[in-house]
């Protein structure tokens, strides 16, 4: 038997207002105006209509049609849930409806989709996990058993912490550099910790996430029966397909046929008698680790490098990251709840991602998702805001 574990990451960052050096220290009497609420609402509503609502409906129909044999898992970030509450509660209702079927599992992560796991001590990381836990508990009345860190960032230290916090499993990238010639289609365990590690099968996951609509791909067009056949030939216990939820309708537009693919996938998979679907919790209950992995330096699912250089790869990113850490240290001594909340919203990894200069010197601009014209603009805006926040904290 080989199980398919399908999991979706659902996240929206809080994009920032244009903030110039002239704004630094100019409006300390007013409440924080760092976030571009109007733009954030616009984008959220657009993505909700193109992706969240229609895809949730497709999934609900599929779960009902296949009588719970089709099973999926979600990770919803805290900022995403806040957007739902503020702008479109119907989106949250549709997730609740999905969860109520019993065929859907929820995954834990940091509330703010942050890089707090990279800080010198893990207090803030733990705090943000607890905030997420409370949010999920309040909305879904559920306590997730599996953890996935921001962008699947993972190392030995993070694994130990997650074990300590009582989770049964942790998700990361099935990167070649940790597996060598071993297969990602099994559970593993960290070399010094007793927790199960689920590894993303990046090839099969990216076939849907990145290559689905690529016309010069030799396998184009990708159909559900072909894809199911590929999986049926996979060796191993478990094929982990971890994908950005926005793939459906947003990254891959409806015209690409991505929804038709999704609608036909469970039927095609279940034609093969040795295949079934499991949630992340079921995967760790059913299977046992076959080996150990040792990850002293952080890995992630981003770029070819599969490390954290997408967020901490240049001087600008490191300067912002250090500023964030310093502000946090001072803030915690001071204990101002409002500023603490602002500081946490600024920790969302997307802000650092917008400052990435990868590939920029080769003359090829990354086709990446950024509200800025280039990473330098992203840096100046973010750094100016951090300077303003720093001044407020010092007041």
């Amino acid at each position: 038997m080989t199980s398919i574990c399908l999991y979706f990451e659902v996240h929206q960052p809080m994009r920032l207002n244009h903030f110039s050096v002239f704004n630094i220290g100019a409006n300390h009497d007013r409440n924080s105006d760092y976030f571009d609420q109007k733009l954030n609402q616009q984008i959220f509503e657009k993505v909700a209509k193109k992706c969240y609502l229609p895809t949730n409906k497709v999934l609900l129909d599929l779960i009902n049609r296949y009588d719970g044999k089709f099973r999926v898992s979600f990770s919803l970030t805290g900022t995403f849930i806040e957007y739902c509450e503020r702008y479109m509660p119907s989106v949250l209702d549709s997730f609740k409806e999905l969860f109520a079927t019993g065929a859907v599992d929820l995954i834990e992560e940091t509330y703010y989709h942050s890089l707090s796991s990279m800080y010198d001590d893990l207090d803030e990381f733990e705090k943000q996990i607890k905030m997420h836990r409370e949010k999920i508990k309040r909305i879904f009345n559920y306590k997730p058993k599996i953890f996935r860190n921001t962008e699947t960032i993972y190392d030995n230290r993070i694994a130990r912490k997650i074990n300590e916090l009582g989770y049964k499993g942790i998700i990361t990238e099935g990167a070649d550099k940790i597996l060598g010639r071993r297969s990602p289609n099994y559970l593993y365990k960290p070399f010094d910790t007793d927790i199960k590690v689920l590894l993303r099968n990046y090839k099969l996951s990216d076939d849907i996430g990145f290559r689905f609509s690529t016309h010069n791909w030799s396998e184009f067009p990708l159909t559900a029966d072909k894809y199911a056949k590929w999986i049926s030939h996979c060796e191993g216990d478990l094929v982990n397909l971890f994908i950005d939820y926005e793939t459906f309708g947003e990254h891959q537009w409806i015209e690409t046929g991505i929804f038709e693919f999704l609608k036909h996938l469970p039927g095609e998979v279940l034609k093969h008698n040795h295949l079934d679907f499991v949630t992340v919790s079921e995967a760790v209950e059913r299977y046992q680790p076959v080996g150990e992995i040792d990850v002293p330096w952080a890995i992630s699912w981003a770029d070819e490098d599969r490390n954290v250089s997408t967020w901490l790869g240049n001087d600008m990113q490191i300067a912002c990251f250090n500023e964030l850490k310093n502000i946090g240290r001072r803030l915690k001594e001071k204990g101002n709840e409002m500023l603490l909340k602002t500081w946490r919203c600024l920790q969302t990894s997307d802000h650092l991602y917008y400052c990435s200069t990868k590939g920029l010197a080769d003359g090829n601009v990354h086709a990446y998702f950024s509200p800025y014209d280039n990473p330098y603009e992203g840096f100046m805006n973010y750094m100016n805001i951090l300077q303003d926040l720093k001044q407020r904290v010092m007041l």
Partner: protein
Amino acid sequence: MKMKIAMIGWEYPPFKAGGLATHCYGLTRSLADKNVKVYFFMPKTKHIANSDHQNLVIKEAGETEIFPYDHPEDEALAGKFFEAVHRYNKLVVAKVKAVAKSEGRFDFIHAHDWLTMEASMILKEEMGVPLVLTIHSTEYDRSGWLNPNQWFIDIERKGMEKADRIIAVSHFTKRVIVEKYGINPNKISVVHNAVYPIPEGKKQEIVLFLGRLTIQKGAEFFLKAARKVLDYEPDVRFVVAGIGDMLPCLIDQAVDLGISNRVIFTGRLTEEEVKHIYGISSVYIMPSVSEPFGITALEAISAGTPTIASKTSGVCETFNNCLKVDFWDTDEIATKIISLLRYESLRTSLAENGKKEIELFTWDNVAGKTIDVYNGIDVERLKKQLKGREKIYKWNQKLASRDYDLSLSLGPKTKKVR
């Protein structure tokens, strides 16, 4: 057989007034390296230009009083301007023909900008050799789109129509050629400029403007931004390097803004001084109103100097690692200068990535693409085609002469939402 080019230029190092000299120097040397025989025709100057390359021969066509950035309104030349242009062009024709007679037929005539248009057209006609024209700037650019002079526009249009192929130094310029001069876009190739890297010096807190002090280059915006920066960073020095007809008003402006003690006007600099000032500056600003390419931006970047360039410049359409602004938005220019001065990581990232990207901008590349343009000319086919399309051009020309907006707006646009 070795390709043989008669290139008709204007300035050539050590005589240099602008990017044209830099371009001709880089292009001719790299063409020569690629085994193309180049005869470069230019006016007689005080400083004699030399070539140490066997494939590159410099020929002086005679003396002239005109200057590529002159305008007929200039008092010194009074009504003699047109006469002087005509006279020099006649000298060029005679010289090229004489060289062709003694050294053999040319494969192509390659001319640059308006000054020698007349000569190149006559040479194409009389020698039956295809004409390639590189456009480094148009009258619209040089006038800052304010009062373009019809005489220049007419001569530019005639040359463009006559040319078999046109090389534009940017897509921005190609668009101007198509939309304002009514030229068929299919005969225009874009070849971006390049740079010989300049060594980095020991950086000081200097913000630099370097260029001709004319309306086109936007030095006034540099001074306005400087005023704003000094409110926040009082110790910075601003340097305005170069000469031009706007120098007196710029000095007045600096006095009026109350910043004359923080702004240094250098006047004309030598080649060595130019390199030095690029090397030691912390920020370079190119606030051009209209800049077909903007080689100075590449020069500054090659010297490890983070650069803020006008969005209405050719370099901005092709270069990633610089900051881009609307030239009139002096608030934005000022915030970027301050950010660069304050945030070391921004400076180092821009400098490092900029220097890496600069490696893609070599004259060898430019020469390669230029040879592609020569090779792409199917002489017989082109002649037929051009005849058939004459009607369309005429119609385009009519359209272009109507005064419609090229959407190169000079006023503030609505800010983009981020």
